[in-house]
């Protein structure tokens, strides 16, 4: 699967799609594939203040559990409620239906530390 170039990526395999001061966050195709069948996502609460690269939840697959790190700082304003009944959306559509949370950006300058889709793909190749 292609990593879309309309968003930025972290080395922890989260993506951030920035639209004004709103940022939708999810995990990359590489991450969902490495985890395998996802069965549960532990979400933060609406209103929670997230800091860049700090833990905001976990993803559980059948085989393992993985921590979610926020690619950017901001306040949680929306959760993907669909994931509670269909966590496998993350496997099926990591860049669409499988989004996890939306935050209100608090520090736009942090964007500079994230990777473009090309840089992320290069990073994946490198870490193989």
């Amino acid at each position: 699967m292609e990593n879309p170039n309309d968003r930025l990526y972290s080395k922890e395999h989260e993506w951030a799609k920035i639209d004004g001061n709103k940022v939708v966050i999810g995990i990359s195709d590489h991450a969902q594939d490495a985890l395998g069948d996802i069965v549960y996502v532990e979400m933060p609460k609406i209103g929670a203040e997230l800091s860049q690269m700090k833990e905001f939840g976990v993803v559980e697959s059948v085989k393992t559990v993985s921590t979610l790190y926020s690619p950017l700082s901001g306040k949680v304003i929306e959760l993907n409620d669909g994931l509670s009944s269909s966590p496998q959306s993350i496997n099926e559509d990591p860049y669409g239906k499988g989004w996890i949370i939306t935050i209100e950006l608090s520090n736009p300058s942090e964007k500079g530390s994230l990777l473009s889709s090309d840089a992320y793909e290069a990073f994946l190749k490198e870490s193989k």
Partner: protein
């Protein structure tokens, strides 16, 4: 670190797009493109196959011509294993445990009696340890031959439709083995379903695997094998069993026969008299967080034990676990809780077999 070993089917797994992980010194497929849940359901509802060539096969026979050819081999097995192998008919097998002096477990094994030898199937992770153990305790047995059969691989085909799909002519009773042409196979299983384990020369294994693929039998990885055995409440060495945990605690008293002098007998007798300090139970959860190995289990505020294996049950669609807990709390239906990421999640004590 020594290089990881590959089973004779490694290239087949790669061709099929398997995700390969290191396991017990082997490069093994953990899942194929359909994923653990779908592979799991194939086995529960129909049929699936597992490459379990990483498991150890140890043949034991006696060179003695004067005595019954199996005698010294039998004496040795009676010395190192808790179950009574003298009860086995030819082509019959039994579950057993190699016990240490303190009652802990060196390995849990399967012992088959064949016409001219005994065949032990041991855990991949313990094969070297078991062989060392056998060498240590076989010194008094002069005519014994212990052979690590690295020339044979095992293909396990499991599921309710296995017999029909394969057209196996003879369905040996459970825990028995048989032959089909040149093919040696057993009827045991580690999934809670009916099925067969085919013991095949390494050279021939890829061909047999291709044939079974051609019959539409999906390959399943170690991930599904783990969720299936966990739903069925079957123990796995390194989780339920270890060097300090006994077969009585894990709960197979019928596989311990105190009628012969096996290593660890005194320790197990004491445990039996005094009562075990912990018991293996199943746990069913209502929330979605998954208890993994090491998760602490509580009753009210009191810690009563620890999760040995936990996963998401593809059949029940809830998290399930096996846990070693204080015997006072092992009653089925009891409400307990498990601490996952510093939060307590409710669980109900269940029989080990959860499906």
């Amino acid at each position: 670190m020594s290089a990881l070993k590959k089973t004779p089917l490694y290239n087949e797994h790669i061709k099929l797009g398997a995700k390969i992980v290191p396991f017990a010194g082997w490069e093994m497929p953990v899942s194929y493109p359909p994923g653990i849940i779908q592979e799991h359901l194939s086995v529960r509802n129909s049929c699936g196959m597992f490459d379990v060539s990483h498991m150890g096969i140890i043949d034991i026979n006696s060179k003695s011509e004067i005595r019954n050819p199996n005698n010294e081999a039998l004496d040795f097995i009676l010395r190192i294993a808790t179950n009574n192998a003298s009860l086995l008919a030819i082509n019959e097998g039994q579950y057993s445990v190699v016990c240490n002096e303190h009652g802990g477990t060196v390995d849990d094994i399967f012992v088959f009696r064949l016409e001219d030898r005994y065949r032990l199937v041991v855990n991949a992770s313990n094969t070297e340890k078991v062989l060392e153990w056998f060498t240590r305790y076989s010194k008094d047995f002069e005519n014994l031959t212990i052979t690590n059969r690295t020339d044979i691989g095992i293909l396990s085909v499991q599921g309710p439709k296995t017999k029909d799909i394969l057209g196996v002519p003879v369905m040996p009773p459970r825990n028995h083995c048989s032959t089909w042409g040149d093919l040696f196979y057993s009827h045991t299983g580690y999934t809670g379903e009916d099925g067969f384990e085919f013991f095949i020369d390494s050279d021939a294994l890829p061909n047999v695997f291709e044939t079974l693929l051609g019959l539409g039998i999906p390959p399943c990885g170690l991930g599904a094998r783990d969720t299936l055995r966990l739903e069925a409440g079957l123990p796995l060495y390194g989780h339920e069993y270890d060097d300090n945990t006994s077969i009585l605690e894990v709960g197979y008293p019928w596989a311990v026969k105190f009628d012969h002098d096996f290593i660890g007998r005194t320790a197990l007798e004491k445990q039996k008299e005094a009562g075990v300090g912990q018991k293996l139970v199943g746990l069913k959860f209502s929330d979605k967080a998954i208890p993994r190995q090491g998760t602490e289990v509580f009753a009210d505020e009191k810690k009563i034990g620890v999760v040995t294996s936990g996963t998401f049950s593809p059949t029940l669609k809830i998290p399930i676990a096996l846990a070693l807990i204080a015997p006072d709390f092992s009653r089925q239906g009891l409400n307990v809780s498990a601490k996952i990421r510093d939060k307590l999640y409710p669980a109900v004590v269940n029989a080990r077999k959860m499906v």
